[in-house]
């Protein structure tokens, strides 16, 4: 637990983390640049349309997934239309025309249904706001610690993990605990 050894290990760890971050970022860029593959074979193109359509005789399965004969017929119909050169959006529209917008597996992104699409984002933002408010309150409540971030720790390289602002009674408790448990956590 000497400061020197810790420093060397710390540098090595920092290097590993740095290299890992760069490598991960590069890999993500490569994958993102390739982009999702466009469906090529007829079956893939059929599936791309069929996953968006609900099998009318089953429950909550798409035309693509359903083993029902009607779904099978619908896949065949989609294939015929695609071979005839009908664009996928027009095929979807044909199904909506025949069955109503109910046939689409996901609600349309306009009108009232837009609510159901916006809601997750709104809830996420509200949740984050709630967390920020709660954290700032908890941090403020704490006597003598107006430190919302761990950032200052950065300025103190080699600083041991144990917080140094322990009160003397806390420190006594801590020492007793460590002595009693016999270093039950890795002391590094």
């Amino acid at each position: 637990m000497s400061g020197e050894g810790r420093g060397a290990a710390g540098t090595a760890a920092a290097a590993v983390v740095g290299v890992a971050l760069v490598a991960a970022a590069a890999a993500i860029l490569v994958i993102a640049a390739r982009g999702a593959p466009a469906p090529t074979t007829l079956q893939e193109r059929v599936r791309a349309v069929a996953v968006g359509l609900r099998c009318p005789v089953c429950q909550d399965l798409s035309v693509a997934d359903s083993p029902a004969p009607l779904a099978q017929a619908m896949r065949a119909k989609i294939a015929t239309e695609l071979q005839a050169g009908t664009p996928p959006s027009a095929i979807r529209q044909q199904f909506v025309h025949a069955y109503g917008s109910w046939i689409l597996m996901a609600p349309p992104r306009h009108g009232l249904s837009l609510v159901v699409w916006i809601l997750p984002l709104a809830l996420a933002l509200a949740g984050c706001a709630l967390a920020v408010v709660a954290i700032s309150r908890w941090t403020r409540d704490r006597p003598g610690a107006a430190r919302p971030e761990a950032a200052p720790a950065e300025n103190l390289p080699g600083r041991p993990d144990a917080p140094d602002e322990l009160s003397s009674s806390d420190r006594r408790l801590l020492e007793r605990a460590v002595a009693a448990s016999g270093a039950w956590e890795d002391p590094e």
Partner: protein
């Protein structure tokens, strides 16, 4: 257990801050409001049958079709019946409700056959042999067609059998029945579709 709880109480004493009436009733009111809205929504849900798929908006153009007749004597096409009221019935030999509705269908057919109302029965997900046998047994005397690939049924948004459409002389769908038809309902639908009423 009692040890732990008294210790915990001491550590985090329970304080119920300044409790004005508003501080209690505003949150309670919000809870009551939300629960009431949810309850109203679910009560609405209880009042409907989730398995019935809602009929598509009526009044749209009936998709055209040209289908081989089940008895092998040529084809049936919607285009050739333009100017007449068409009753389009999807059925199958394996369908119990098709037996149920057969009598009503027969009676309506007999009543309107002389008034220029065309009946067409399209078999749905069936084999032509069994379909023919069923039709003969049931005495379905109107033109019957097979629907290879179920394409016509899909064009009409059919989800199961029986389903029955009434098409006006100018080619619009004016009525749709999911499940077995009844004599009075189908008669009324046809009467409404005949120009000038009946």
């Amino acid at each position: 257990m009692s040890d732990a709880s008294s210790e915990a109480t001491a550590r985090h004493p329970t304080r119920l801050g300044g409790r004005s009436a508003a501080a209690v009733w505003i949150p309670v009111g919000i809870v009551v409001l939300i629960v009431a809205l949810l309850a109203a929504l679910f009560a609405f849900g209880l009042g409907r049958n989730p398995t019935v798929v809602q009929p598509v908006d009526l009044g749209k153009m009936a998709p055209g079709f040209q289908l081989a007749r089940l008895d092998g004597t040529g084809t049936v096409s919607l285009g050739s019946m333009r100017g007449q009221v068409v009753v389009l019935n999807f059925w199958a030999s394996w369908c119990a409700d098709c037996i149920v509705e057969n009598k009503a269908l027969q009676a309506v057919f007999d009543r309107y056959r002389d008034q220029g109302v065309q009946f067409v029965g399209v078999s749905f997900e069936d084999q032509s042999g069994t379909a023919r046998g069923f039709a003969k047994q049931m005495g379905m005397h109107w033109p019957l067609a097979s629907d290879p690939g179920t394409t016509t049924a899909i064009d009409y948004g059919v989800t199961g059998v029986p389903e029955t459409f009434v098409i006006s002389p100018d080619g619009h769908i004016v009525a749709k029945t999911i499940g077995p038809v009844t004599y009075p309902e189908l008669s009324e639908q046809i009467a409404n579709a005949i120009p000038g009423g009946a």
